[in-house]
């Protein structure tokens, strides 16, 4: 039987932070794919919104085209927001979160991996299906690059900011703090820049400025959010 851990052995542990990042990413993706279901599965939600609009509002191409940039961005925002709550909740309920907090590996690595997994199945997936849906909503072809670029740069920010809200509320059984109230105000700038970018693209105006603003928000989020999420998780669990 192996000897107990000594400090020296600990230093040369086989699985480093990189390994943990990949392992967590793989695990979270696997979990989401197995659950397939998840009512709030962002893609499903996105598709639902897009089928319901022509049915409920009006099937006229002209009207739908006018609606498309905003509807796509609102759907992306709602899809992200709705799926956010589950990000840490299941881990909290089954005790995995405690184990995660007790790991000697830096917390922000796991957190980043989880947010990345979430984004890949929400923001990234949305970005990839957006063109198809945009065609169904008769968005003019000129708007396509603007739509995809703005979604690609904007949605990671949504995931990062949403994760802060999810981490703050994960320990609450009851409680007035609403994740949507916390997060929604922070989402609105992204929504505004995002739709402006698409509308600019549709009308042929330059959209670099909007994309730069979205990029700046993303950089800020990447730098600060993981720390905030980690701290919020520790607070929530210790409660």
């Amino acid at each position: 039987m192996a000897d107990l851990l000594t400090n020296a052995a600990a230093e040369q542990a086989q699985i480093g932070p990189g390994g943990l990042f990949m392992a967590t990413l793989r695990r979270d993706l696997m979990l989401s794919l197995r659950r397939k279901s998840e009512l709030v599965n962002p893609l499903i939600f996105f598709l639902m919104v897009i089928t319901l609009f022509p049915l409920g509002v009006s099937p006229e191409p002209g009207f739908l085209a006018q609606l498309a940039p905003g509807a796509l961005w609102v759907a992306a925002l709602l899809a992200t927001l709705l799926s956010m709550d589950g990000l840490f909740r299941t881990d909290f309920d089954d005790g995995s979160l405690e184990q995660l907090l007790l790991s000697p590996q830096p917390l922000f690595i796991v957190v980043l991996a989880k947010v990345l997994a979430h984004w890949m199945l929400s923001g990234l997936a949305l970005t990839l299906v957006a063109p198809v849906i945009a065609v169904m909503l008769f968005l003019p072809a000129e708007g396509m690059p603007g739509l995809m670029l703005s979604l690609l740069i904007g949605t990671p920010t949504l995931s990062l900011v949403g994760a802060i809200g999810a981490a703050l509320t994960v320990g609450l059984k009851r409680g007035g703090v609403l994740i949507s109230l916390l997060v929604l105000p922070l989402y609105i700038p992204v929504l505004i820049f995002g739709t402006s970018a698409v509308q600019a693209a549709v009308t042929g105006l330059p959209l670099g400025g909007y994309l730069a603003l979205l990029g700046a928000l993303l950089a800020l989020g990447l730098a600060l959010a993981p720390l905030a999420i980690g701290a919020a998780l520790r607070i929530s669990v210790s409660g």
Binding site: A10, A13, Q14, I15, A23, M30, R34, G95, S238
Partner: protein, 211 residues
């Protein structure tokens, strides 16, 4: 190693205006089993969560190898294995996938012995069944199999024998005995008597609390 591994001084905790313990002090040496006893609701789980660093709702001092625990949090985490009320097993993953993630999470777990550990807790043949179709005891065994993988000196176990059958409990007790013999130490709670083990020191929380 000189001195106690873990030392607790003057610990105080209350929940909802009810004092769970106050002035609590004890120490855990290498090669020792400490059993926290007490009626339901006396604060055992609360104490273990405080010791492991999960909960900060306390007053008092905790030392790890002689140093205040907050200063050596990293080192402490590295040498700790915690098994909580909720076993931390993902229902959608198979036992093997669950364990592999734990191995990535904690350097003290040895990923190369995963299938061996699963066999030792009697889950051979269930490696690729999603955990949600395991029985209650098998579910907890998945998490318990970490004990077979771990090199961490300090084990903190909150009711590890819940839902485990008699043979399983005996095996776990033997494992704890071996861990002690190697110079590790264990802090645990359980409502059953520890049968085989020798060097058990118990701390009773029933006398501690207020009303």
């Amino acid at each position: 190693m000189s001195g106690p591994m873990l030392k607790v001084e003057n610990l105080f905790c209350e929940r909802d205006d009810r004092v769970l313990f106050e002035g609590l002090g004890f120490s855990v040496d290498a090669g020792e089993i400490v059993q926290i006893e007490g009626a339901n609701g006396s604060g055992k789980t609360t104490l273990l969560r405080i010791l492991s660093g999960l909960s900060r709702n306390y007053e008092g001092e905790i030392y790890w190898r002689g140093e205040p625990i907050d200063d050596v949090r990293d080192q402490f985490c590295r040498e700790l294995l915690y098994f909580g009320h909720q076993p931390g097993v993902k229902a959608l993953l198979t036992p093997e996938e669950n364990l592999r993630w734990y191995c990535a999470l904690h350097p003290s777990l040895d990923a190369s012995r995963v299938s061996e550990a699963l066999e030792q807790v009697g889950l051979r043949g269930f490696e690729d069944v999603p955990c949600h179709s395991l029985s209650a005891g098998q579910h907890r065994r998945v998490s318990l199999s970490r004990l077979y993988l771990s090199d961490a000196p300090l084990w903190i176990l909150d009711e590890p024998f819940t839902a485990i059958d008699k043979r399983g409990v005996a095996a776990k007790e033997a494992l704890i005995g071996r861990h002690i013999a190697r110079g590790g130490s264990v802090i645990l709670t359980t409502h059953q008597d520890l049968q085989g083990s020798s060097a058990v020191r118990s701390i009773n929380l029933d006398q501690q609390g207020g009303t």
